[in-house]
Amino acid sequence: MARSITYREAINEALRQEMRRDERVVVMGEDVAGGAGAPGESDAWGGVMGVTSGLFGEFPDRVLDTPISESAFIGAAIGAATRGLRPVAELMFIDFLGVCFDQIFNQAAKFRYMFGGKAVTPVVIRTMYGAGLRAAAQHSQSLYSIFTHIPGLKVAVPSSPYDAKGLMIQAIRDDDPVIFCEHKAMYDTGGDVPEDSYALPFGEAEIVREGSDVTVVAIGRMVSVARQAAEQLSGDGIEVEVVDPRTLSPLDSDTILESVEGTGRLVVVDEATPRCSAATDISALVAREGFGSLRAPIEMVTAPHTPVPFSDALEDLYVPDAQRVANAVKAAVGYQR
């Protein structure tokens, strides 16, 4: 598996391979083909970030541009899923959930339960999250916690090209609705990715680095930040175990709890704002079920409780960095009751 491709290419390849394998897979969203009705190339964009680039050429009937009406087309993806298709709809930015959330959380998420187990809704909603592109308050949020709060949804947050491909393939094959969260600042990140198709099971965290002193659970793009901090701390003699949950729902609580059992300390790193969030969720899990092994307060390294600022000077302070993670780890290690 020596081939290195980008996070963007990994997702594109997953989509392409699944579309070849299963003709029920359809892709829809604003400019995911590239400008329906416009002159010039019919596949000019492949989505605003080029993630679906080239798919329209190969599957012209199954890659559908849409008008700007997220409720209608996300709802359409959901409706189609109840009738045998396996749609992958693009909600361009996760920040736009507010114009279509009903279809996701009251319809897709609840069909199976409300209908007494007699429905399956295998829809994937791909969406971009995260700060770092100076895209300001309405295009930079990390809102996956909101989806994780909702029973009936699954939430994937891949942190590498390898995971992005494997989790996307699993998402498409999964019979439940999946929110697939892609970090917009990672599209050009490269990594080794097998050419063959493979699915990564949901609910299986990865220990991306082993360590005995502190467990750091990091989400999405924060995994690489946590790794950086870990390397730095290793020089100071502190060995950090970095755990990437990969999916927030289902959450692999066993791996997290076992890790904390070994280290006695937990730091959660999450790019989202800090109230009622994935960071609090993982903290609460361990405070409840891993209390016996805890030797220090559970630290959280998160964005502040503010919207995402525009200016690069502020945004760089907004997003958790390795230094802040390292400080939190040191606080945990240095704690005396």
Binding site: V26, D61, R62, L64, T66, P67, S69, S71, A72, F73, I74, G75, A76, A77, I78, G79, A80, A81, T82, R83, G84, L85, P87, D102, Q103, N106, Q107, F111, R112, Y113, M114, F115, G116, G117, K118, A119, V120, P151, G152, K154, D174, D175, D176, G203, P250
Partner: protein
């Protein structure tokens, strides 16, 4: 209003009887739910469809199991017209494990995907986006399947409904949008809330034909729906049909209806869809009155049994609480 003379002739006697059975079942079902609700044994929010039967049945008479419909909070009529099991519905409304949704959904969420019934819906405007998807599935499958969204006058002001109409046209979907204008959204008059003379006037803005029909006249609905469904099946794209009608009960069970005049009494006396249907097919000699009487008896018996069985049925238990959330988690 559509001229209905030709259309009436198109349905044979057997079909007319089945159409009558469906409308009659809805009426009797709803009147019975009304009565049972008054006993206090039916939990939750219940919205009755009585009075509007010609709409659900006039449209669904053109559909089969490959076709999909999305419904509303006022969904019992659409369910029955689309062939959902009446006993399973009643058991669901009583919250029993034998219900259509194992007692987990209740009146507002009755569904049967095997019949193409995508569910009643607690969210006003929830259904129209969904049927764009089922219509797309039909279109890609090339199986001629058509999808229909039923929604109210109130829902015609919801953005989700309006977006869905545009999307259906843009994608040229085999879809029909049926706006059931019963004059009110809760207590609010549609003459006030809909800033157009007719809901059907909105069709032009979304590139589709808009038709107005008299919802007390089964044949008018049936004809308009027939044209729309046929056009959709042939790849001709979506249609908006506005059906003007009246609900016989309050917005939900318990509603005192202080905001309302005597239109229900008038409709029941002069324009009731069942009475008109019966008069028409019997007077023209197409169906014998005795045959419809027989149907009345069968329907009464069915609904009776449905209530008896529902009351006797067991409720779900703790083991059911956590199941059916995910296919696999």
């Amino acid at each position: 209003m559509t001229d209905t003379i030709t259309e009436a002739a198109e349905l044979g006697a057997a079909e007319l009887v089945e159409v009558y059975r469906s409308m009659r079942t809805i009426r009797v079902f709803e009147e019975r739910v009304h009565a049972e609700f008054a006993t206090g044994d039916i939990p939750g929010f219940v919205h009755l469809y009585a009075g509007e039967e010609a709409s659900a049945v006039g449209v669904c008479a053109h559909l089969d199991d490959r076709d999909s419909i999305a419904s509303t909070h006022r969904g019992h009529g659409h369910c029955i017209a689309k062939g959902v099991d009446v006993k399973a519905m009643m058991a669901e409304i009583f919250g029993r494990r034998s219900g259509a949704c194992n007692g987990k959904g209740g009146s507002m969420h009755i569904a049967d995907l095997s019949k193409g019934m995508l569910g009643a819906n607690g969210i006003v405007g929830g259904g129209p986006p969904l049927i764009c998807g089922t219509a797309l599935a039909g279109k890609l499958a090339g199986n001629g399947a058509v999808s229909v969204a039923f929604f109210g006058d109130g829902a015609s002001n919801q953005g989700t409904t309006l977006e869905a109409m545009n999307l259906a046209s843009v994608w040229n979907l085999p879809a029909v949008f049926v706006a059931e204008n019963n004059g009110y959204a809760e207590a609010t008059a549609s003459t006030w809330s809909v800033a157009a003379d007719n809901i059907a006037d909105r069709a032009a803005g979304f590139g589709m034909p808009g038709v107005i029909v008299d919802g007390f006249d089964f044949f008018a609905v049936h004809e308009a729906a027939g044209e729309a469904v046929a056009r959709a099946r042939e790849g001709g794209g979506p249609t908006l049909i506005e059906v003007k009608l009246t609900r016989y009960y309050g917005h939900f069970e318990g509603d005192q209806q202080t905001y309302r005049g005597d239109e229900v009494a008038r409709a029941r006396e002069r324009t009731d869809c069942l009475a008109r249907f019966r008069a028409r097919v019997c007077e023209s000699g197409q169906v014998a009155a005795a045959e419809l009487d027989r149907v009345d008896g069968e329907v009464a018996a069915l609904v009776d049994e449905a209530v008896t069985e529902a009351r006797a049925a067991a409720k779900p238990t703790e083991a059911d609480l956590h199941t059916d959330v995910y296919v696999a988690y």
